[in-house]
Amino acid sequence: MYDKAVRRRRTVLALLVALSLILLTAYFGESAGGGLHAVQRGAMEVFAPIQEGANRALKPFRDLFRWFGDTLDAKDRADELETERDALRRQVAELEVQGRENAELRGLMSINASSGLRAYEPVVARVFARSPSTWYSTVEINKGSSDGVQRDQPVVNGKGLIGKVKSVSDGNAVVMLLTDQDFAASAEAAKSGEPGIVSPAVGATGDLLFNLVRNAREVHKRDLIVTSGMKSSRLDSLFPRAIPIGMVTRVELGEGELDRRIHVRPAADLRRLDLVQVLTRPSADVLAARRQP
């Protein structure tokens, strides 16, 4: 009985394997128009409508499972895209910073060329801290006495005068901005040459006043105010000549000529300072002039 069962089992297996191999060999060997292919196509014709019906009937289930799959894929995709977005954001931020620095450096080079600041041995510095107080308009830069920076040296950027060095340590310095209460600079109207003093307007953050102008009516709105670089036998100006300070925004009439209030907006955007340069030899032109016979 057992032998019979074993024989039957083995026979069935051998038969099925043989049948499979015969089918395989015959199918593989014949052309596309052969008998087995024709039978397969016929069977396909029979099965196709059933499959199509089943396909339609099962579509909702398929869609449901697909939805789960898509959700999982979407989660992965979202994670990937988020990572990519973060990387791109970092890249954009880096490029923007580099672009801004590039523009600032170009501005510095431009002002060096146009105002002849190279002779004053400019030292480029980066602003890394700003006074949080509204009373003191100061910033800290990353260059100090070891770089040749000294107290009272003028500080400029690509747009114009920023301020002057207030105090110096070995590797850092504090710059007093134009808008600080204690700041004052001898200046002149670029067009008319009227001299005066530029100082911050009290109580108006970011506003400067062009004071002590003898012929104030010679100064008009949109006139450029520049440093005068005053020279005398006893006292020299801290600032070289012809560095832009700002532009006249309005002229207020007072009772007398000296009461006229000339408001000046700083040429440099003092709220956005990144790269500046300290003119470490501000009196270079004076010295050169004195050396000449």
């Binding site: 089992r9 069935v12 297996l13 099925l16 697909r66």
Partner: protein
Amino acid sequence: MTWSAAAVGRLVALGLLGGILQLTAISQVTLFGVPADLSPLLVASVGLLAGSVAGATFGFCLGLFVDTALLQTLGVTSFVFTMIGYGAGRVLELRDPAHGLVPVAVGAAATVLAAIGFSLLQFLLGVEAPVSLLLVRSILITIVLNTLLALPVYALTRRVLLPFLPDDPRRRRRRAYTTGGLSPLSRA
């Protein structure tokens, strides 16, 4: 398994429905880019429940159906599924496993065998498919998916073939307790 027209009818229905379900729905639902494959699981389940002859025959027929429906080379799937059905049946006949997780192991083994068998036959037939990491990855994912599906497929197959299967001793015991019979312990 008790052979009868009804049993054969159920096996045919199981094969047809399983095959159509696989071709029209399961194969179109992908997880991690790979679909599950119920066919080897069905064949392995039939073999594990009904024995090697039934398993091999069912495997051959289901393989033939799949090859025909997909216009594939006739005989390839039949050959592989015949071996799977026979192997699963021999596990039943030689070991008579009682552990509940045996269908999972057999299902996983059947999927591995199917994947390797198909690949080997395709190479032997001269189909130029590079053995890439992608292929290995998809085979591995199919094995994992099928392993997860093995138990439900086995349970479903068992439910379909239950009237024609020999009485399971555990089931017989359970029935005896619920119908007021004495447990072997109380008899002792």
